[in-house]
Symmetry: C2
Subunit: 337 residues, 2 copies
């Protein structure tokens, strides 16, 4: 770019310069076999001088490994997946792996094909896969999963039970919410749920029903707007309720906005609980009662599990389920008639 043609030095050139063979340079740098200290010193000097670093394509072809893992997320700009990415990146970096991010744009098939191919072409050694909705091309994933290193983060895929996953106790989270609202004296609840196709949605709906068996359940898309609109529908239809369980904080925030516009106070008239514990939950006023999921930890754990798959004893990679925690803040209050 700046200098027109700065072809980097090759090991052979360094070797020539040092008056030794490439083999010796290789070993001097890796320490994988004894080399005369003087020779090492000389090589080091020349390496320093030219800023030589072994070309990674050569190393990769030779070793059959890339030193890179992939992370597939629907949208990297999303708070939720950003946190996961942070955790994955942290561990990858620790292990001296690179991380390539594949945005799936909410399951755009062309995009998905692309990172499946990265696995197939051995451009990456493994993949952490996340999704916020049901897969567009599950069949292809099933094929690719054979003989590849994959870990599902946050959401497992039912059809692939053998693939390790890192999930959370969402069922327990929903129970905590139900219990909390019951203790506050509420008896009529509505649920603004996540995607209908996700296991985590089904589980939460079922668990919440243990406390509110007849709770009306509407399915949204995890975006604020959908919480807003679904709440609008509820109000337009005169549904009677004194509390809302939203399957994530963004939808909860949207629902609260809609309630306020209708002159309904939160938490005085209606209690609202979210899920995930986004940053905003503490900023808003009143602060949002929610269920905390440690997204960064999900990322970390997923990456570690992936490395178990890649480097560990066969079968050493185990699925794990991380705990969640109810955080009671200001959007829930005792029922008032």
């Amino acid at each position: 770019m700046l200098s027109p043609e700065t072809r980097p030095w090759t090991m052979a050139q360094i070797a020539a310069e040092a008056g030794v063979s490439a083999t010796t340079v290789s070993h001097a740098l890796s320490g994988k076999r004894p080399v005369n200290p003087e020779t090492v010193a000389r090589i080091q000097r020349i390496v320093q001088e030219h800023g030589f670093v072994p070309n990674s394509s050569g190393v990769r072809l030779r070793s059959g490994r890339t030193g890179v893992i992939g992370l597939a997320v629907p949208d990297i700009a999303h708070w939720y997946f950003g946190r996961i990415a942070k955790g994955v990146e942290e561990i990858a970096n620790e292990r001296d792996y690179g991380l390539v991010i594949c945005g799936t744009m909410n399951a755009d098939p062309r995009r998905e094909k692309r990172y499946f191919n990265m696995l197939r072409t051995r451009a990456i050694d493994g993949l952490v896969y996340t999704t916020s909705r049901s897969m567009s091309d599950l069949d292809e994933l099933v094929t690719v999963a054979q003989g590849s290193s994959i870990v599902f983060a946050d959401e497992a895929v039912d059809r692939l039970p053998e693939v390790p996953s890192v999930t959370t106790t969402v069922r327990e989270g929903a129970r905590l919410v139900g219990e909390h609202l019951r203790e506050l004296g509420h008896s009529r609840a509505v649920v603004i749920a996540g995607y209908a196709g996700l296991r985590s949605t089904t589980e939460r709906v079922a668990a919440f029903r243990e406390y509110f068996p007849t709770a009306l359940t509407l399915f949204g898309d995890f975006e604020q707007q959908s919480g807003y609109e679904l709440m609008g529908d509820l109000l337009a239809n005169d549904v009677a309720f004194s509390c809302v369980f939203a399957h994530n904080d963004f939808m909860a925030i949207g629902a609260i906005r809609r309630l306020r516009e209708a002159g309904i106070r939160v938490p005085e008239d209606v209690s609202v609980v979210g899920f995930d514990d986004v940053d905003v939950a503490t900023i808003m006023s009143p602060a949002l009662t929610t269920v905390r999921k440690d997204m960064v930890e999900i990322g970390r754990r997923s990456a570690r599990t992936l490395f178990d798959v890649i480097e560990g004893e066969p079968g050493s990679a185990r699925s794990s389920v991380l705990p969640v925690e109810l955080v009671v803040r200001g959007t829930t209050a005792p029922r008032r008639d």
Copy 2:
């Protein structure tokens, strides 16, 4: 992983199976030279059957290109850098490039070394570099920048004027803020600025001074907490002001929180303006008056510029400066005595 040893097929094996040479397989797949249609068909079939895809390490070693670009960001989980990443990813994907994300953890030297090395080892073809503070190891960057493809996103580096950058008209943004507050009748302002070492900070401070020449300026770190604390200092010292210009929305939000705790109303008693226009700015109430920067577009433009550097005519890559826009919402109001 699942199947114990599924070594992928090599081109040579496919060739043997098809009764042709590897060369022919290569050309049949790439179309770079005519191949007998029947032969092509046969090869296609075998390729399909075994799910063959050319090993990328081989291709890379041969071609000298990796088909991957890097993105260095302080923290991928941060709203700001997530947006940039989204834009970069979008364009990379469009060009069939992979994107590796390098978290610099706010300029951790070990981390920075790591992705500089990726450039050096030719593990990536180019790098989009962002920073939120002054560089930890500018000298190393200067060295690496020689003969490598780099683009600075969002913040240019003064010592490297030849490196293309994509920035915004922050100066103009600060002027708009000054003008707006003047028009509302304010005469005493304080500034909660960004890192002192950044050009964008200096520029904004200077531009705002055109309207409020004596505005007290405190430097923060772009985090909410710092806006909160700096506002605390201002209050503790009885500084007289009726409006605040914060260099980003998070600090603005922190400052507002602190003002409220002190019983000072926004915007009735004090007007507050942020910068960037984060999602939360619209959610909070009153909604935040701020200056909108299109972060995703910065990402896109940076990636395009990087591809100009990598693939374009030498010298075809140009720095660009994107516009910003004042968004007047609810946290600013006419001065009241």
